[in-house]
């Protein structure tokens, strides 16, 4: 049976049905609709004012690739200029290939690229070293906790280096839905209160961040990348299977199968959550070490690094922050270089 005609231009044969509305569209019309929606999100949400210098967090994956591509198309209309910022977490066998993809993209699109490495910023701690450090605790390694916080800091630093006024990341609707599910399952009222909007306006010296793809579902992002023949890196991070987010992701897949609009329903719920004032995070101040935005004495990145340096990686995770106030732990802090392989304990 031949494909039906495109519902929009009625000339070409339809190439897909939009997951959201079931409407049949040809490739050109779909891409145009996708770009129009992103433009609408940015304009209606007043996310990127004209004249903004925008740092795009580029990981080489499909979301950031599509984001960079769409923003590049829309840049003349919005009056913004783009810089690509890539973060090198030091995950062997994964990040190198992804960075190669980013370099190719930067070359093809002629956008300036800056690479920021963990090893350089955080005193030699790469993600592999962090993983080794947290490996022996018997519980899950919680690599993603470290990586997420440190990556945000690295992105911010990279954006400052290029003189950006805004930071954009490629989170899509599925990411937002997974986040709200995950936060409820873990009881993270602070993050629930903070999340849900289109991004943060940037308080206390932090750059404003936003997520233009927030209302686009993951399927459409993949389809767009496919139709525009974008070159991206599509493998999963080596540490991803251990993450709690995996549970939320599986649940989301099932929910989407039961009801296709579940993803946007979750995003709508997240936007409308009303949490008690006591549960909301305290107004942000500045970190005592690095001066970045922090709701406590130490920002999360400094707290995590402190824990790593003291040899107690779980210090800043969960309820263990009390230990941060102690000074002079028995072990020597190691300010430079990752730890060498740990001695095997003998019994």
């Amino acid at each position: 049976m031949p494909a039906p005609r495109c519902a929009s231009c009625h000339k070409a044969r339809a190439a897909l049905r939009r997951p959201r509305s079931g409407q049949a569209l040809c490739t050109t019309c779909f891409c145009a609709a996708f770009e129009a929606e992103v433009l609408h999100t940015v304009v209606a949400g007043r996310l990127l004012p004209p004249g903004a210098v925008v740092a795009v967090g580029a990981s080489g994956g499909k979301d950031s690739t599509v984001l960079a591509h769409v923003l590049r198309e829309l840049a003349p209309r919005l009056g913004i200029s783009l810089h690509l910022v890539a973060v090198d977490e030091g995950i062997g066998g994964y990040r190198d290939a992804a960075l190669a993809a980013v370099r190719r993209q930067a070359a093809r699109w002629e956008l300036p690229l800056t690479v920021v490495a963990y090893a350089e910023l955080f005193g030699g701690w790469t993600m592999d070293a962090v993983a080794r450090s947290t490996a022996g605790s018997g519980r899950s390694r919680s690599c993603c906790t470290f990586c997420g916080v440190l990556r945000r800091r690295a992105l911010e630093e990279g954006a400052r280096r290029v003189g950006a006024t805004h930071v954009v990341t490629g989170h899509n609707a599925d990411d937002m839905a997974e986040t709200v599910l995950m936060n409820f399952l873990r009881g993270d009222a602070g993050r629930l209160a903070r999340g849900g909007g289109l991004g943060s306006p940037g308080e206390g010296g932090a750059l404003p961040r936003c997520r233009p793809l927030q209302l686009a579902s993951q399927k459409e992002v993949v389809l767009y990348a496919h139709f525009r023949r974008l070159d991206y890196f599509s493998e999963e991070c080596v540490y991803a299977p251990e993450a709690f987010r995996g549970h939320a992701r599986d649940l989301l897949k099932l929910l989407e199968a039961a009801r296709p609009s579940a993803v946007l329903d979750l995003v709508h719920s997240a936007e409308r959550l009303a949490l008690a004032p006591a549960a909301r995070p305290p107004p942000p101040g500045a970190c005592s070490r690095c001066g970045a935005l922090a709701s406590r004495a130490l920002c999360q990145a400094c707290a995590l690094l402190e824990g790593l340096n003291r040899g107690r990686p779980r210090l800043a995770i969960g309820k263990g922050r009390r230990g941060l106030d102690e000074e002079g732990s028995p072990r020597e802090p190691q300010p430079s270089g990752p730890p060498t392989s740990e001695p095997i304990p003998g019994f």
Partner: protein, 477 residues
């Protein structure tokens, strides 16, 4: 829970409860597709339990929703409670619950005659109910519809018999599942009402959940240790595959996660305690907006083109070339949407205000979650195209029009009449308000005496008080 109430009311309890309870049992066999013999058997078992408990009891069948008055959907003002603590409470015990009984309480005197219904529901009503439930495509929407109708029915019973509170037996586990399910259904704005301790959105009758701190496991152990008999009836999702509905999925997911991380349920419960019954920061204060027709919460939808999830689904952006098929419908739907952000008035064509599509009118009065459920309500045969093909005018401007097949016209007929009547009334009232507003503005510029008779005829059904005031205003000029 019944047992706990019994204990609390007994002479020898330390802190004696001071209310007079009644028990309501809702028979939903028709919705679940049970045969009349099974239903009779369940009813007999339930009656046995209820008689031994000793409280006045009421058995209502779900078919009675077809004879509910539209006032059920209105939020009445709360009557002032008496100064002492003597208030009545209606205790709700229904299917799959762990009913309470004790053999040692046999010596209690029999209560006054039980107030059952007049008689079993008529075959016509049963047939109408099954038609309603068969016209719903997905199990998720069925479960939601069942819950809504059950709530309305119990509310009605409580109001007619003068009860001011309804207690339900939801345990901690069930509330945690309910919270996550509500999230997934788009009801994030109303979580505090759906899963909190007290739910007072109906005005005079308050729904309370006293069992919300007990986990299901505790309840099971309690029932076993105290030999509490329970009545088992199949529900609408019994024996359904796990992926059939969002409710099933969530329940299975949470129970599975609980096995791996034993603190899951209590974590979700603690988080639910931190929710408040207020709109999100931006839109606080002021008069609360219009309420949803079905769930009676304040509406949580934005204007159509905002940069939110709702806006994304109802965006009026069309691709460059407008499809000719949808063009005739476009003005209708777009003016429906343009009005959505303000008062709830359905779209008004220039000529005839009553020619608007009834489905769009009803949909405009629903909250986000109820709208998504309503989309699954389609009458007639199976849909030829995708599931969303039949959704038509309700929400999506990009209504798919595959050139070959015809658009299914979704119909609201199977819905119980009280819902349709209330929807009609609200939309008429809103239209009348809108007209009054417009007339007032024009009257300031210059009187238009010719229009007054038309207004009066239009507003007769809605607000006689306002009409006379308006008349005076027009005459004065």
């Amino acid at each position: 829970m019944l047992w706990q109430v019994l204990e609390g009311l007994s002479q020898d309890s330390a802190k004696r409860l001071r209310f007079v309870p009644g028990v309501v049992f809702a028979d939903e066999g028709a919705a679940c597709g049970q045969s009349p013999e099974d239903r009779a058997k369940t009813l007999a078992e339930a009656k046995l339990v209820l008689q031994t408990v000793g409280f006045p009891w009421h058995i209502v069948a779900l078919e009675e929703v077809f004879s509910l008055p539209p006032s059920v959907l209105r939020c009445s003002a709360r009557e002032p409670v008496g100064t002492e603590g003597a208030y009545k409470a209606a205790v709700d015990s229904f299917l799959q619950q762990h009913h309470v009984l004790g053999e040692e309480k046999q010596s209690r005197p029999c209560p006054q005659h039980p107030q059952g219904r007049a008689g079993p529901p008529t075959a016509g009503q049963t047939e109408a109910l099954s038609r309603l439930f068969n016209s719903v495509k997905t199990l998720t929407a069925k479960e939601e519809l069942l819950q809504t109708l059950r709530t309305h029915l119990i509310l009605h019973v409580a109001r007619t018999h003068g009860y001011s509170k309804v207690m339900t037996g939801d345990s901690c586990t069930r509330l945690a599942v309910k919270l996550m399910t509500s999230l997934a259904l788009g009801r994030g704005a109303f979580l505090a009402w759906d899963t909190g301790f007290s739910d007072e959105r109906h005005g005079d009758v308050v729904v309370v959940r006293p069992m919300r701190e007990h986990t299901l496991k505790e309840v099971a152990f309690y029932n076993r240790l105290f030999a509490v008999p329970s009545v088992f009836t199949p529900a609408v999702d019994t024996k359904a595959p796990e992926k059939a509905s969002i409710h099933r999925l969530m329940e299975a997911f949470i129970l599975r996660l609980q096995a791996q991380f034993p603190s899951t349920v209590s974590t979700v419960y603690r988080t639910s305690e931190k929710l408040v019954k207020a709109p999100r920061d931006g839109c606080a204060a002021g008069t609360p907006g219009p309420r949803c027709l079905l769930c009676m919460c304040v509406l949580d939808v934005d204007t159509a083109d905002s940069a939110t999830a709702f806006g994304a689904q109802t965006s009026s952006q069309l691709p460059q070339t407008q499809p000719p098929v949808a063009e005739a419908e476009a003005p209708t739907v777009s003016c429906c949407h343009s009005g959505m952000g303000r008062a709830q008035h359905c779209c008004r064509m220039e000529a005839d205000p009553r020619a608007c599509d009834p489905r769009a009118c009803v949909t405009a009065q629903l909250c986000y979650g109820c709208r998504v459920n309503m989309k699954d309500l389609v009458s007639g045969g199976p849909s030829p195209a995708r599931e969303q093909a039949g959704a038509g005018l309700g929400l999506r401007l990009r209504s798919p029009g595959t050139s070959g097949s015809s658009l299914l016209q979704p119909s609201l007929d199977p819905l119980p009449p009280y819902i349709l009547a209330e929807a009609q009334l609200r939309s008429q009232r809103a239209e009348a308000e809108q007209e009054i507003q417009e007339r007032l503005l024009e009257a300031e510029d210059g009187a238009r005496p010719g229009a007054t008779s038309a207004e009066q005829a239009h507003e007769d059904g809605a607000r006689p008080g306002a009409t006379s005031a308006e008349q005076e205003g027009a005459d004065g000029l």
